[in-house]
Subunit: 238 residues, 2 copies
């Protein structure tokens, strides 16, 4: 455990931790079905799109394709998915707009007010595999009060590559222990801890919807476990 | 001229353009004189410190010293200046705090309300030789509503190196012409224009105090010339 007195900056995983990607994509997809006359199982579409996320980054991580930012990886996955779901009625403009649904994801309900509290005491940054413009547009859309937008794009390597966590330390702190990684995913936190960051686990049991059971068990090594950003603020003494 | 319809992001020079470094350093220095019992000509001290800025970056640019961020360059200059001004009474803690006066500079009077207007339509980013933590701390201290903090530190090269301007294009736009550089310094804008950015010149005739005459003549190639960020907002149709 930690009381936050030695922490200077909190850096956040974004997809799943800060924003509800699944609910946002389903809602926007169903709206698109109404306006464009599509018949798509959007919950399944959202899950499939997100399931392609890891493998698409793996191709970059293994060097099979040169660096591409997440907008580009999402678009390649989307083009495959539209075939898989038999969707052929969308214009290029509609496809480009749909790909940017990741720029318009909505935060979990407690996030924005809790961030306002946390911000009075800590530097708040993203530390996401999302590209900078995706994260900036999302912040403007959702009112997320980041102090800075840090991204895998700045080091051309995807989490859990140590270079991403090291970037936050190099830019925001004198020592790794002054930075705390906040994430809903145990692997992200374990990789951050290897670089020396402190860790706060905020499980999001509904990230993949109500029917999929997630492993939300905390690692005993995590410094803080909190049910949401409001509980995180309390744990950090804000 | 431009009406702003093709612009996606405005990126700002910070020292002199957004904040009044000279007035801020003088005020904080005079306060330090009172509390620590120093006798220092703070207007001259501020000017000397800023005059060492260019030459200190030149040593990095020429490869004479490895990359160092601006906090480190400021500190090396400060240590020289304290000898030059015969100041020996400061503790290491006081020197470290004084060096961070650059994190506590105050904006010119119209800046924050005009940025709030501009922010409704454009992505607003720093594009400064200041390091990321300096810019983040300054923003928190002064209430500057940046959407993202871009810095020479991210490419380990100082403006007017093209890499700094290219970073803004790579991260925020599809094309260089969608990014506009806002600066009080003609050389910064000319270097940005070489990379293809649009340019807005906001002269700050009082940057070096009322007695030093500055060349504030605009280059006819600049897209916009404005007396402040409020006039810039009007020129951009916000």
């Amino acid at each position: 455990m930690t009381d936050g007195s030695s922490i200077r900056a909190l850096v956040f995983d974004v997809f799943g931790t800060v924003v509800d990607w699944r609910g946002s994509i389903i809602d926007e997809g169903q709206e698109l079905s109404r306006t464009a006359g599509l018949s798509v199982d959007w919950p399944r579409f959202a899950d499939r799109w997100r399931e392609m996320y890891g493998p698409s980054m793996d191709r970059v991580r293994r060097g099979e394709i040169p660096w591409r930012n997440l907008d580009a990886l999402h678009r390649a996955s989307l083009d495959e998915l539209l075939v898989e779901f038999g969707v052929s009625a969308l214009s290029e403009e509609q496809k480009a707009h749909l790909n940017c649904v990741w720029h318009r994801l909505r935060p979990w309900p407690e996030v924005v007010p809790a961030m306002q509290r946390l911000r009075s005491r800590f530097i708040l940054g993203t530390l996401s595999n999302g590209n900078v413009s995706l994260l900036v547009n999302m912040a403007k859309h959702a009112g997320l009060p980041w102090d800075c937008v840090l991204s895998a794009e700045l080091v051309h390597a995807y989490k859990p590559d140590a270079a991403v966590y090291q970037l936050a330390v190099d830019l925001l702190a004198e020592a790794p222990g002054e930075v705390m990684m906040v994430a809903a995913h145990q692997g992200d936190l374990r990789a951050a801890a290897k670089v020396g960051l402190r860790t706060a686990f905020v499980p999001r049991p509904l990230e993949w919807g109500p029917e999929r059971k997630l492993d939300t068990s905390p690692d005993p090594a995590f410094d803080i476990v909190a049910s949401g950003f409001d509980e995180l603020a309390v744990a950090l003494g804000v």
